[in-house]
């Protein structure tokens, strides 16, 4: 998963939303329900609650629009772009827009909710049989009032359950007429109209007057789409006309002839060549629920995932029994579940007694008596024994000055102290005290199996095991016991990786491993790389060098080093400082 730059998120958990308008494709209650279910996807796995507002400004304003709908990011007609949403914030931020040139359904073809009749608003059942004939769309057969209807069970003759399908003869939506039906003919700007029209509007929505004279009464509403209506083209809302003539040839069904994209279309008059009136044929459409759930993910702060099965993957695919992917859950919980927050992940208590692995410090609090001299090392403040370093280590060459080193082999935080490795030696810098830099110490005394030059190291925050990487091999120290060397491909890293140059603990049991311009997420417990990796470092950690040779955590910040310089990134993934390792960190 990814979050937006700066981890944009709502600063409150009671998020509000408002539905500004409706699509003609589905009845309003179906749209309300789809949105409510889409929000529930996220509230089920977070402390977030979603409250619908009916007026005023909500955090998330939800609307349908076509093409250029006013935010500078136009839609592109049917298919292609389906919707977009803005990350959390004021104004347009947090809002979600749905392209109304799409055919919005529940994912499996027209979702036609009935009105009146005797089915209590049930959905149409397609196909249904009526007087020996099977129908896959609403029909006006059997009626003299021209109202489309459908059966809500498979067999009308047996069950006699039916309702009326959406039509402008039954109701309108939005507008200012409280859903009243169209009145035909009606007068608009002196012209008489016999059906819904897009005249007078730039957004392509079909409307009608709900009195016989719009010019006088100014009462109007938008026309719902019939399930048989074409989508897009230049005849939105009209039914296909079969047969129709196209380039001199007669067609009795929808065709993809004449189009390079293979999409099915039909003419809405009997002669396309003469009238050029057409539209795309109704299809399965896009699940408003699934697309809304994805967009609301953006509105809550999630960016696109590169895991194909994740909801936040950028492409649409229909799934019947939806459940949120663990990647989406991790992403949203990273933003909104406190124990999963970035800061808290890196605020594990730093032991004041490096090496203590036996639980809380059994000694009472109080001043410690420092003992001068290098023989205090490595545990100057504690008389307790350690499992990581039972042998006393000694500085091997006091003349070696860390301040003379421009580029360390590896830098990492172990037991709360920053360790600087270079050619078989290391220095320690306490993160808690201003005790300054200690060392150098011999790597071979404390970790005898390691080669002199290591590329990176990290301490698993859960098990306290320390992982060292050198070239394509790694070693794991648990106290003095050793595992390795093993090949890094045992961790799932590809054979093309020549070395691991940086490591960042990211939550319990997860570590990011950096190499070149890529990074992978290691599941330490499972000893494998998570799905969806590698990712490009500069995409997620914008503004840091692509070729950092050290990446590490220190005091709540992430550091990327190149040469003698570091780029410091805060918990909002903003580079807040660039400086010298030697002067700013080592205090040379």
């Amino acid at each position: 998963y990814q979050t937006f730059e700066g981890d944009l998120k709502w600063d409150h958990h009671d998020v509000t939303y408002r539905i500004l308008n409706y699509s003609p494709d589905m009845e309003a209650s179906l749209i309300d329900d789809a949105f409510a279910r889409a929000f529930k996807v996220w509230s089920d796995v977070t402390p977030l609650t979603f409250t619908r507002l009916f007026d005023g400004t909500a955090d998330i304003m939800v609307s349908f629009g076509k093409a250029d709908h006013g935010d500078g990011y136009p839609f592109d007609g049917k298919d292609g772009l389906l919707a977009h949403a803005f990350p959390p914030g004021e104004g347009i931020q947090g809002d979600a827009h749905f392209d109304d040139d799409e055919n919005w359904t529940l994912g499996k073809g027209a979702a036609v909710k009935t009105s009146f009749g005797n089915a209590e608003g049930a959905l149409c059942h397609f196909p249904f049989s009526f007087e020996g004939k099977e129908y896959s769309t609403c029909t006006t057969e059997g009626r003299s009032d021209n109202l489309p209807w459908c059966a809500t069970t498979a067999d009308y003759g047996r069950d006699k359950k039916f309702g009326f399908c959406p039509s402008e003869l039954l109701y309108t939506f939005d507008g200012n007429s409280n859903g009243k039906e169209c009145v035909f003919p009606f007068v608009f700007l002196g012209e008489t109209y016999e059906g819904c029209t897009t005249e007078g509007r730039s957004d392509g929505y079909r409307w009608c007057s709900t009195t016989e004279n719009f010019d006088k009464d100014k009462k109007y509403g938008f026309c719902p789409n019939r399930d048989t209506a074409v989508i897009g083209g230049n005849s939105e809302g009209e039914p296909c006309q079969f047969p129709f003539v196209f380039l001199g040839k007669k067609y009795d069904s929808c065709t993809s002839e004449g189009r390079g994209d293979g999409r099915l279309w039909c003419a809405t008059t009997s002669d396309f060549d003469a009238d050029t009136k057409w539209g795309f044929c109704p299809d399965r459409g896009y699940s408003l629920f699934l697309v809304a759930a994805h967009e609301f993910g953006h509105a809550l702060g999630l960016d696109h995932s590169n895991i194909r099965d994740a909801l936040m993957y950028p492409m649409y695919s229909y799934v019947e029994d939806f459940s949120l992917h663990e990647d989406d859950v991790e992403g949203i919980q990273y933003l909104y579940v406190k124990c999963y927050s970035f800061n808290s992940l890196h605020s594990f208590p730093l032991s004041s007694h490096p090496g203590s692995k036996t639980g809380p410090d059994p000694t009472p609090p109080g001043p410690t008596i420092p003992t001068p001299g290098p023989s205090d090392e490595p545990e100057p403040n504690t008389p307790t024994t350690t499992t990581t370093s039972p042998t006393t280590t000694h500085p091997v060459d006091p003349s070696q000055d860390a301040c003379q080193i421009n580029k360390f082999d590896a830098i990492t935080e172990i037991d709360g102290d920053l360790h600087f490795f270079k050619d078989g030696q290391y220095w320690r810098l306490s993160s808690k005290t201003d005790g300054g830099l200690k060392g150098p110490f011999s790597m071979s005394e404390r970790w005898p199996a390691l080669p002199a030059v290591i590329d990176t190291a990290f301490e698993d925050l859960v098990t306290k095991k320390i992982y060292f990487f050198s070239g394509t091999r790694f070693w794991v120290y648990t106290g003095q016991s050793l595992l390795g060397p093993r090949s890094i491909d045992k961790l799932g890293l590809p054979s093309t990786v020549e070395k691991v140059e940086g490591a960042l603990q990211r939550g319990k049991g997860k570590v990011l491993l950096f190499s070149g311009e890529n990074y992978w997420r290691l599941d330490v417990k499972g000893q494998n790389i998570d799905k969806g990796y590698p990712r490009f470092t500069d995409i997620v950690f914008g503004g840091v060098p692509n070729d950092a040779h050290d990446v590490f955590h220190f005091k709540g910040h992430i550091y990327f080093c190149r040469d003698r310089f570091y780029w410091r990134m805060n918990s909002r993934r903003q580079v807040d400082r660039v400086g010298y390792v030697k002067y700013d960190i080592l205090k040379c």
Binding site: E5, G77, L81, G232, N234, G258, H304, I307, I539
Partner: protein
């Protein structure tokens, strides 16, 4: 000798928002729209990466084989319905 080949006619449909584009035009527009072409540097200056590199980034993001070329599966992915939010932040 030969069966006459049926000529494929491509028609410009009135009101059609999507124009006929070559695959390369489609790719360039896609890579730009979804953030794969522009790279913002630390200085704030933006530069374009090569189409091949942008394609590789896109292929990686979409879980496709990273060929850096406009192969069939990449074109298909570019034509698939999707969210309008860019994949790569600037």
């Amino acid at each position: 000798w030969c069966v006459p080949l049926e000529k494929t006619v491509s028609v410009t449909f009135p009101g059609d928002v999507l124009k006929n584009m070559t695959d390369m035009e489609l790719a360039e527009s896609y890579l730009k729209r979804f953030g794969y072409m522009n790279v913002q540097h630390r200085s704030g200056f933006q530069s374009m990466v090569s189409t091949s590199k942008a394609l590789m980034r896109m292929q990686r993001q979409m879980g496709l084989e990273e060929t850096g070329t406009l192969d069939k599966s990449t074109v298909a992915a570019m034509k698939a319905p999707r969210c309008g939010v860019p994949d790569i932040r600037s």
